[in-house]
Symmetry: C2
Subunit: 448 residues, 2 copies
Amino acid sequence: MTSTSSTDLIPHIERGLADLRDLVALQSVSAQGRMLPETAAHVTRLLEAEGFTVRSYPGEVAPVLVAEAGEGSATLLIYNHYDVQPEDPLELWDSPPFELTERDGRLYGRGASDDKGELASRLAAVRAVRERHEGRLPLRVRWLIEGEEEVGSPSLERFIAEHADELRADGCWWEFGGISPEGRPVASLGLKGVMGVELRCRVAASDLHSSLGAVIDNPLYRLARAVASLRDETGRVTIPGFHDDVREPSDADRAAIARIPGDGQPVRDTYGVTRPLATGSAYHERANLMPVVNVNGWGGGYQGEGSKTVLPAHGFVKLDFRLVPDQDPARILEVLRAHLDAQGLEDIEIVELEAHQKPARADAGHPFVRACIEAAGEAHGAEPIVHPSSAASGPMHPFTYHLGVPCVALGIGNVGGRVHAPNENIVREHFEKGVAFGVALLERLARE
Amino acid sequence: MTSTSSTDLIPHIERGLADLRDLVALQSVSAQGRMLPETAAHVTRLLEAEGFTVRSYPGEVAPVLVAEAGEGSATLLIYNHYDVQPEDPLELWDSPPFELTERDGRLYGRGASDDKGELASRLAAVRAVRERHEGRLPLRVRWLIEGEEEVGSPSLERFIAEHADELRADGCWWEFGGISPEGRPVASLGLKGVMGVELRCRVAASDLHSSLGAVIDNPLYRLARAVASLRDETGRVTIPGFHDDVREPSDADRAAIARIPGDGQPVRDTYGVTRPLATGSAYHERANLMPVVNVNGWGGGYQGEGSKTVLPAHGFVKLDFRLVPDQDPARILEVLRAHLDAQGLEDIEIVELEAHQKPARADAGHPFVRACIEAAGEAHGAEPIVHPSSAASGPMHPFTYHLGVPCVALGIGNVGGRVHAPNENIVREHFEKGVAFGVALLERLARE
């Protein structure tokens, strides 16, 4: 067994970046059903080349892959996804979204961070560990890689329940993670839930002249009234019953949050944010613990140049709710319906969209969590920052519920990474550190 | 001098419908600057063929035409426009929008009613009167035809002020008018004002991941809050100061409104309206007298299939305010700005759109108004219905203010005419009655 040294990783890093370039070129946009089987097949070939046995199962929109390799007393489950978000608006990209492009120490492309960069860096770490151990892995690695994460992982919960024996492990290395502007690894031990809905309103069979607005109601006004009633100016959701099942954060949660440095200024600088809802100590408390509602999109009536004096027949709003333990999306749908009805908005239809995930949070004292944090500190040479929960969402609940494993998110993302937006990117050095962390984690788990 | 008889009008009606077919084929969409000079030239040729002297003046987006013909003690000003609304959404038309198409006694096409059908029927009436008077008109007819009405007539007020001597008359025959389902002519003596604005909100330089909604505000929520605050559930505008300058309706106004039959059921049936704001006696009171705000369109964020967990950087809402005497658009802009500011929505930008017209209303006792009502009763063989004001808007204020003329709207529209919407149409028989009314009006004014 050798210790982790950065120089012997160089060829693995180069190979990992070549893998990433190939993966980014595959336009695996799950929301549009693009190139999903092709990308699954490519990932399968990459894993088989490293000694993994790979099983492919049909998902709702894309194959689910389960790979296994290695032997030992420890079992690590890794979770990633090979699908990406749509690339629009295309005109805001500075280089083609599906060509990995290096500029000023960063690598740009759709999926460069979320999640192909994570996948490629972990595969590079597995290669490095195999090389150090004469071609074998000194622990059992189980790898679950799906292609439906960006559309809410519709197959995953049932898949995990039905394949629990293939997936059981000591803990799960989650599909994403970040590195702070100061170079400190950022671990998240939980994820918010998410529930996507579309509100639809129709007042007539066809569009009308807007002079009729004196005597016929307006679907976009009705939607405005609905949306304005969902939260207050501070961002707190105002739907009666919405907060009933929110788990009170523990003292440990609050202590960890109090140790998180900064207050989100790099995010605000990167995106040119002019309307923050929180700065100072409130920033991380809200990001970790606060359930919210977002308006993702709004459409209706005339959107072209100038004016058109039309009373539109219908309109729609797309929302996502970000939930915290122990809120249940099914219960939130009920209180939303009751809230709209109570305001005389019975005619507004609620359509469930594919985004639908329960919140989850791990115990910070679990040995697997501690091993992850220690390996990150070792590989990065910096004290990890621990978030009881990320602000983001993902399908963590099936892992904690069906497999009973803690999940720890540690990875290569950066605050300027523009995930889900044009010019998504990673810092090249973070990719290198990510490979080193993977090696440190696998070696540590194999030793313990 | 001969009396009005319908049989001798048949060739003029046929000729008028051929004119209408040619006019509809010209795609004179002013909002998009399409075919405006070509259409002005075509209208000029039609008028010159009937002995009119036509002068063309440059407008902001399209030529303004002033035509004059005839001699006598009476002077009639006619006002029409040759531009039309955009034809979108194209897929909802049952026949091509720019091909006049007859089905079941109706004529379909963009502009068939608003306003090319009016123009063609009046030209046919002028031809018939000339024929009866050995090729001359027994009164002076001045005809103002603009090409910017559908974008708020941006040139018209100044044009009328500067050309008052060319336009002065005993009264003005307004560009539109309707016929009730029972075949009664509908006269309007006023028009609401209109002011179009776009509200814009931006919270960041680029789109963000929606997990950041816990710590960054949402532009579509902010717009929803703004729009929801503009009116109440009943449709009453709730902006402080908005109603300050509303002229109290006279007893005569209220009496006329009380005599208007029906309560809008044909409109609701035609458009499949499911959310009326008023039925019964409130319907016509609101349509005639109530100032309102309409949401014409809304856009922002992701509007495609399924969900996208994005926090949009910006969004917009298009509104029109329908105003009544003596509300002033400039003052309404001021109270709107103050209202948004008072709610902490200082960041929402108000952009004025082209629609911007002051309200106007004529005196029901004026001799010209009485002559119009009597000629309509004679030509239609039915008692006219008199609206103190239409629910619609148009540039009537410059006529009443600069020329001092009463304006009377009488024409060929129908409640199922789908003006500004797909499948715009007129009833063929209404076109025929419109020609007869034009003849009756010109003959009556020449006699008085």
